[in-house]
């Protein structure tokens, strides 16, 4: 069970959070303009990386805020957390 540093609350147990899949997938502004394939790309296609992965997490049993996490899926080490709408740290 890892520890996540919620950008709003600070360090908390993993059990307070829920994972929300890959980060930085923006919902298309004009879905009706998209072909079936383009829409399917948005809807279904997700990466499953062994290594550094950008993820969404929500502090379900805390502030209820969504934020982004950079996690190494091979050892669960969290490299960074940052708020929704912010750019991932470059280092």
């Amino acid at each position: 069970m890892f520890i996540i540093n919620c950008p709003y609350c600070g360090e908390r147990e993993q059990s307070e959070f829920k994972a929300g899949g890959e980060a930085h997938i923006v919902r298309p502004k004009q879905p009706t303009e998209l072909s079936d394939d383009q829409w399917a790309e948005y809807l279904f296609m997700r990466k499953n990386i062994k290594g550094i992965q950008f993820e969404r997490w929500v502090h379900t049993h805390g502030c209820r805020k969504w934020f982004n996490v950079i996690r190494d899926t091979s050892n669960d080490m969290i490299k960074a957390v940052y708020k929704m709408g912010e750019k991932p740290p470059t280092k």
Binding site: M1, I3, T32, M77
Partner: protein, 1001 residues
């Protein structure tokens, strides 16, 4: 004939405190401080069980948690019975009753022993190969395998003991209180770290604490005396907590560990009542110091499993710690110096040693010189080729090893004995380290895996780090700790150490015999009866990966997880395949390190606390009025209210009829409620529901369907506009939390520009639903100030009302298709309002109804239940609810998916009504629907989703999903059942009042 096997030298045993216990129904005596194993050995009992496959007699092999053989069942046929207890770990207490587990009918005469003679036909993978065919026979095989396999028996009564969980946060956790753990505890605690020291044993000091040899000294004192002083000192340090009888079961990432603190297992049963038995400690440590020590390796030779064969270090421990002699004619068999430590301590106690057999040819150390000085015969460069004695070892035969160690040469000699101590060197206990994600490296000099890469802030010290000798431990440990804890000056930097241990070792994984391997039994895994021969067979049959060999031969898969023999299995694979051990890698060590009881894992979450349940504020009334309850998510909901011995069907038929004929009342408090406020609330609803919300007037209600982005129906409910920028949304009972979560997700991540605030108010408001033709009359009396005239209070509208001073929200909405009102009221007033409605409704025969009647009534009207009539594959179009999907709105969640190539298929499963040919025949929910029964294979068109007998229509009605069902109106279909076929006709899913006359009455 009783031998005196006690030597009065141990201060760990209280010989003034006699303890009686039973083993296999016979009474024996031991002393306070004994384990079951030490007490049995003191009574000259070695034979304690039978092996798993061949049912060979097996004896106590070790003195610790690695024990593979001495597995017993405690207190058979009582509520406190426990299987798989290691005799080497359980401390005896007055009244202890233990029995051998793996034998039938008795340990001395065992029917399964016949397998030993059949063993040529019981090779590795035997169970897989033989009992698999024909598959239908498995059940018969299984009965006999289980009966003879001795898996232990679980208790039949509920557990009378109390268990609990506790969270601990500390700066430094030290696992293991051997000499290095004690040193670490002193250094950490004295330097201000909040420190926790745990050890699985009841005493501190590991194996050094009973080490009384002149050959090992610290600061010119016996190592045990020196350590004892250190222990007394650390006990006084304030910020150090010490927990004995506490074993760490799991070491997870981020230094999160689980440990089991054993509080009462050493007490007589009558002293355990109302005490916590085990405590599961959930430890989060900033730093972890692993000092788990090492396990002695056995040697792998022909018939190395007879009772009376023990690890050499175990013989030493029984003599020094428990004052018990394991045998009167001892032989030791070794490939390294540690057998000589045992020999010296036995010799000093006057215990007879017949001979020492050493694999090594040229050896020289102080220890060996002392043995030779005392005229104990050492057979250098020899190996044991066989052992004799069925229920107890009687004799060994030895031969000289060839130069390369692969063969035996010369003539055979025999040595009589009643106890054989074996040692193949030491294996660091790296189990917890690898559990934490640590990576090992292989050290070629002495063929051990040691910690290499640490995944978290932790370090290993002492022999679990590969430092086996006293001088290595004492010189390395302070240096490691100084760096790990970032300290300038520490204790122990200038210790004077005397250690006579020579590190030379001759490692031969599988010792040769004069017989061919096929005729020998060199056991690698004692508990699972896997021999070196089995491993070689697996390799011959093409298995290469250590994980596959393990599963095929079952090596390392017992309750001891192969703590003794895993290294040898690896060694034999490496030698046979010519690969390097370091490259083979080890098998995965999984938690728990030693087994945990279910009670420990569950803690206090038993009985009514096993899974929490939620009650509505009207719950007590339902109980008082004899409702039967149904679990809906975590809620307890009134299911039906049987009267005068009614069964469920009778009650539901009565309730349903009453609700349509006059009046019914339902507790709908469990519906999810979300308060939505903000200037963009209307726009938000437009985006999350399929229909349009911009034009909904204040005071009006609207039904909405919510989709997932894939176009599939996700939730539904009525939302009411309370004010310009204020709505109250209802969700399904089960969907409340996930709907809120999903709405929050979109608000925060996709549409942060919207000014909308969501608050869950499910628990804050109770909902009372009153329906039926007389509901208006009842409500008019409950709310005398409100105008209930249809033109002022039409269907799908809302008014604020008051009962006395209590504010209520009254909605005219219907889930039954009947004239119906819902009262939303602050939860703590709910029961009073409910009772008022019942009181006033009496003259209209108001009938409380439960969820089952609610389901029946809505099915009559063709209203869906999300999750019953839908699964995650139904679009609104599939549900024939095209009317609710806005054509005008540019976008809403799921819209684009409604015209994907897959969702526009004509032959999707679609919701239809089903009427049976025989109106009294009620279909089974979940039954398959087909058209052509003769076609092979039969094409499954769909299934029945809801089915009831309608008392109002006086016929059976059902909803179902059928491929292309929309265009099959009036068509005949078949429901094939086990012993009959039911003919049905596809019908409109709205069975009652399609014109909505009742709703608007």
């Amino acid at each position: 004939m009783t031998k005196n096997l006690r030597i009065k030298t141990s201060k760990f045993i209280d010989e003034t405190y006699k303890v009686s216990f039973k083993f296999n129904r016979k009474t024996y005596y031991g002393f306070k401080g004994d384990t079951l194993a030490s007490a049995l050995l003191a009574n000259d009992i070695h034979l304690v069980g039978r092996s798993f496959k061949y049912h060979r007699p097996r004896g106590i092999m070790t003195a610790g948690s690695e024990e593979p053989n001495a597995i017993v069942q405690l207190h058979s046929n009582t509520s406190r019975t426990e299987p798989n207890v290691r005799a080497t770990e359980i401390e005896i207490y007055e009244g202890l009753e233990a029995s051998s587990q793996n034998c039938w009918p008795t340990v001395n005469f065992d029917i399964g022993g016949i397998n030993n003679f059949l063993s040529p036909v019981l090779p590795a993978g035997f169970y897989y190969k033989t009992f698999m065919w024909p598959a239908s026979f498995w059940e018969k095989y299984e009965y006999f395998i289980r009966k003879s396999a001795g898996l232990g028996k679980s208790p039949k009564e509920s557990d009378p003991d109390i268990y609990e969980h506790k969270y601990i946060h500390c700066d430094v956790l030290i696992i293991g209180a051997g000499i290095s753990g004690i040193m670490a505890a002193k250094i950490a605690a004295k330097n201000g770290f909040k420190t926790l020291l745990v050890d699985e044993k009841p005493y501190l000091g590991g194996s050094t604490i009973y080490q009384n040899s002149e050959h090992f000294k610290i600061n010119n004192q016996l190592s045990s005396s020196w350590l004892e002083k250190e222990i007394n000192e650390i006990k006084k340090i304030k910020n150090l907590e010490i927990k004995t009888r506490t074993s760490v079961a799991a070491f997870h990432g981020y230094n999160f560990l689980l440990a089991r603190e054993n509080l009462t297992d050493h007490l007589p049963l009558e002293q355990r009542n109302n005490k916590t038995r085990h405590r599961l400690l959930k430890i989060r440590a900033k730093k972890v110091i692993t000092a788990t020590g090492s396990l002695e390796r056995p040697l792998i030779f022909n018939n190395n499993d007879r009772p009376g064969i023990l690890l050499s270090s175990a013989i030493d421990k029984y003599a020094n710690l428990f004052g018990v002699v394991c045998g009167e004619k001892n032989v030791l068999f070794t490939n390294n110096d540690s057998a000589y430590e045992t020999a010296i301590s036995l010799y000093q106690k006057g215990i007879n040693i017949e001979a020492i057999i050493d694999n090594r040819e040229e050896i020289d150390s102080k220890l060996i010189k002392e043995i030779e000085k005392n005229n104990i015969k050492i057979h250098k460069g020899y190996t044991i080729v066989n052992t004799f004695g069925y229920k107890r070892i009687k004799k060994v035969s030895i031969m000289k090893l060839s130069k390369d160690g692969q063969k035996v040469i010369g003539s055979k000699e025999y040595i009589n004995c009643d106890c054989l101590g074996i040692t193949g060197g030491w294996t660091p206990a790296v189990h917890l380290f690898t559990q934490s994600g640590g990576k090992l490296k292989f050290r070629d000099e002495d063929q051990v895996f040691i910690p290499n890469i640490y995944p978290s802030d932790q370090v290993s010290i002492g022999s679990c780090n590969g430092d086996f000798t006293l001088d290595e431990i004492l010189s390395t440990t302070p240096r490691i700790l100084k760096e790990f804890l970032n300290l300038k000056k520490i204790d122990y930097e200038d210790l004077e150490i005397q250690s006579s241990f020579n590190k030379s070792k001759r490692n031969i994984w599988l010792l040769p015999s004069d017989k061919v391997i096929g005729k020998t039994k060199p056991f690698v895994d004692y508990q699972n009866d896997a021999t070196a021969k089995d491993i070689k067979l697996a390799l011959r049959e093409g298995f290469r990966s250590i994980e596959h060999v393990k599963r095929y031969t079952t090596t390392g898969m017992g309750t001891d997880q192969g703590k003794l023999g895993n290294m040898h299995a690896l060694g034999i694979i490496s030698e046979t395949t010519g690969s390097k051990i370091g490259e083979l890698g080890t098998t995965t060590f999984r938690p728990p390190y030693t087994p945990l009881t279910f009670g420990t894992i569950v803690g206090r979450n038993v009985g009514e606390y096993f899974d929490i349940f939620r009650r509505t504020p009207i719950h007590d009334w339902h109980v008082k009025n004899k409702a039967e309850f149904e679990n809906v998510g975590q809620w307890k909901r009134a299911w039906y209210y049987p009267k005068n011995g009614e069964n469920m069907n009778d009650a539901v038929q009565r309730e349903s009829k009453a609700a349509r004929d006059s009046a019914g009342i339902l507790d709908a408090s469990t519906l999810g409620k979300i308060d939505i406020q903000g200037t963009d609330a209307s726009e938000f609803l437009n985006r999350v529901y399929t229909n349009s919300w911009s034009k909904l007037a204040i005071g009006k209600c609207r039904y909405g369907l919510m989709l997932n982005e894939d176009g599939m129906v996700y939730d539904d409910g009525v939302t009411t506009r309370l004010d310009e920028n204020h709505y109250i949304m209802t969700t399904t009972t089960g969907g409340a939390a996930t709907v809120l979560g999903k709405l929050e997700d979109y608000l925060q991540t996709e549409w942060p520009e919207l000014d909308v605030y969501l608050t869950s108010v499910t628990d804050h408001y109770a909902t009372i639903s009153v329906c039926g033709p007389n509901s208006k009359k009842i409500l008019s009396q409950v709310f005398p100030d409100l105008d209930f005239k249809d033109e002022h209070f039409p269907h799908m509208s809302f008014k604020n009302g008051k009962i006395d001073k209590i504010k209520c929200r009254v909605m005219r909405i219907s889930f039954t298709g009947e004239l119906s009102y819902e009262i939303n009221i602050q939860a703590n007033y709910a029961k009073a309002v409910w009772e008022k409605c019942i009181e006033i409704g009496k003259k209209f025969n108001i009938t409380p109804y439960g969820t089952e009647t609610m389901h029946l009534l809505r099915a009559e009207k063709g209203f869906i239940i999300v999750g019953q009539d839908t699964d995650a594959t139904m679009t609104p179009i599939d549900l024939q609810m095209d009317w609710i999907v806005s054509k005008k709105k540019y976008d809403f969640i799921g819209k684009r998916s409604l015209y994907r190539s897959d969702t526009i298929r004509e032959d999707r499963k679609q919701l239809v009504g089903l009427l049976t040919e025989n109106p009294d025949e009620v279909l089974e929910e979940g039954a398959q629907i087909v058209a052509d029964i003769k076609k092979s294979p039969i094409e499954m068109l769909g299934h029945v989703t809801s089915s009831y007998y309608s008392p109002n229509l006086k016929k059976s009605i059902a909803l179902g999903v059928v491929k292309g069902g929309k265009n099959m109106m009036g068509q005949k279909l078949i429901i094939p059942m086990e012993n009959k076929q039911i003919n049905v006709t596809v019908a409109d899913p709205v069975f009652l009042d399609k014109e909505n006359k009742r709703l608007n009455a």
